[in-house]
Subunit: 251 residues, 2 copies
DNA sequence: TCAAATGCAAGAGCGCTGCTCTCGTAATTG
DNA sequence: CAATTACGAGAGCAGCGCTCTTGCATTTGA
């Protein structure tokens, strides 16, 4: 399937990669709006029409970049998760792993803002994401699900409350995404994931300008609170100072 | 200042408004990427160069639309808030007002997805938002701050825990945004606002496709949880079924 | 009131874009 | 070796943002 049959296919793969690389370079430099097929072709020393042998349209090129971006951020999340599991001092706590993954995604976004905008900003090409994107798009989500499953397996935690109107939907989501998790947790997890991306988007897209300065600590705190919402708790409860008020705010 | 001096200025105002209206129409139909000055001019029966008398560039037109969009969503939030305060059965609870404002913003976004993308999606024109946008951009935030202030004034609630590393930043934010609120609450509020936009963005930008079906109930639940994070509680505690587990999940 | 100054629409034009079509050549296949 | 296929090059079309010049209408000030 993936074997290379001749020099021709080898060349095709290389040229395709070169086009994507050059496109990524222009994307990083100027943003998706200014990415032009002609400029990519020019930089590669080919004529613009030749490029259409590899990508049938500009939107198809963008879609390929979107898939790659999903894969890159998923890769970053999985690497960070593995690193926090294989630490020399033994596997980290679920909360620490949750935060490590979140920070890895944020750092990838800060390093590749335009690619981040491609996947979590306004959809550029048409409207509905092509089928090819849904696999790579869920990689980060799977990592987060794994962390929560682990956390619940080691120390069996209480399930958060679940409103009656949301129960059928939560059960459907749980069946689709994580049958081993309580529906209430799955619903909270999906919400947390979107909220987590909201935090990053506000920072990347400049919404925190003149509002939040210490972005890193702010993000870590917010992400830790998000973890609490899905039942991933700090087992050492060293939340500083007022940590005693941590759980009884609703009493 | 805003008085109209002659027929010329009156005409200028009308033409400017007509351009923005037509641009908004094309924005709604095709998205920001396909909005073209020439098409707007064509539809208005003028030649494209004439349009540059009113907006010096395409980006300036987009900026004007952005400001208008910020104002529109702020207006929607303020209207919803006023409505929930002036209800016949007396002013609603802080939580109910919080949810009402959140739902109003969400519904505005659903009704104007491309305008929403303009302000909370990837920034299209340059990179930093012009000075003119920061006023309108903060209208929704001010409404939320007001609700939290009210909630704390009527029933003095506990302040959430605040990590030591975040304290100076939280105090700076509180001084800038809401000096009457505890710094920990202000920090939580800013985070909640970004997370809240994250929820809406995921829905608008299609990230919930095949994941979340019952968007409305899901959103209400998530937004209510967000409110809890900033100390706005459901005073009737009728959260259904497992509501007794609401506060002691960390014990 | 009349001339000077200003505001504005129209048109032509520049360089760029995405995309299509044709044509000659080189690699692949049977 | 012949037929097929894949590919690069070039010309060309329609559309874009934007600039410049020209001529007319309105406003302004002496």
């Amino acid at each position: 399937m993936t074997t290379i049959r001749g020099a021709r296919e080898r060349a095709r793969i290389e040229v395709t990669a070169a086009i994507k690389d050059e496109a990524r370079k222009q994307l990083a430099a100027e943003g998706a709006a200014k990415l032009s097929l002609r400029a990519v072709a020019r930089e590669l020393g080919m004529v613009s029409s030749a490029l259409y042998r590899y990508f049938p349209s500009r939107d198809d090129l963008l879609t390929a970049l979107i898939v790659d971006a999903y894969d890159a951020v998923g890769e970053a999340a999985e690497t960070a998760h593995r690193a926090s599991c294989d630490a020399p001092a033994g596997p980290a706590s679920p909360l620490a792993r949750w935060i490590a993954v979140a920070c890895a995604v944020r750092e990838w976004a800060l390093a590749h803002p335009h690619e981040y905008a491609l996947i979590y900003g306004s959809p550029v090409p048409g409207y509905s994401a092509p089928q090819a994107t849904i696999g790579p798009a869920s990689r980060v989500g799977l990592v987060l699900i794994g962390i929560v499953e682990d956390a619940r397996r080691t120390d069996g935690l209480a399930v958060p409350p679940l409103a009656a109107e949301l129960r059928p939907e939560a059960e459907r989501m749980a069946a689709d995404l994580a049958p081993d998790l309580p529906p209430a947790v799955v619903a909270a997890l999906v919400a947390a994931w979107s909220q987590f991306v909201g935090l990053i988007s506000f920072e990347i897209f400049g919404q925190f300008n003149r509002i939040v300065e210490a972005r890193e600590v702010f993000f870590r705190q917010a992400v830790a609170d998000l973890a609490r919402n899905v039942g991933v708790l700090d087992d050492r409860t060293d939340r500083t100072a007022t940590s005693s008020a941590d759980a009884d705010a609703g009493a």
